[in-house]
Symmetry: C2
Subunit: 79 residues, 2 copies
Amino acid sequence: MTRVVVTVMPREGVLDPQGQAVQGALGHLGFDGVDHVRVGKRIELTVHGPEPEAEARRMCEELLANPLIEDFTVTVEGG
Amino acid sequence: MTRVVVTVMPREGVLDPQGQAVQGALGHLGFDGVDHVRVGKRIELTVHGPEPEAEARRMCEELLANPLIEDFTVTVEGG
């Protein structure tokens, strides 16, 4: 079994309303020196089987990421 | 200016309904060898100022994470 970390972020150039909301809220709290905020997902999962990284990539393509608007990375922990 | 990555994950032992939903959906798609799925956030931001890591930690404490149910990490890119 292998622990895998998937990150899914909005693609460069795609509007990120959640990032904009966080940036605005930080400004209201007095954190002025903050910009280029992007918000995405981090998914940790245990994959059983011989090819955990390839399997996780297939999961991203089929479910975890929307390729039109999101990029993903797959990292095998300790690998 | 410094690029900072914040990760916010559900605490160990806290129910993670989003993780459970993803795990169930993966099972329905035929990805059977998957468990312990946890879903959290990855936030990338640019921080201006002399102490970007400490500033990002304050942002987590005040806005980005809920300390009752979430743990966060702050990583300075290239640092």
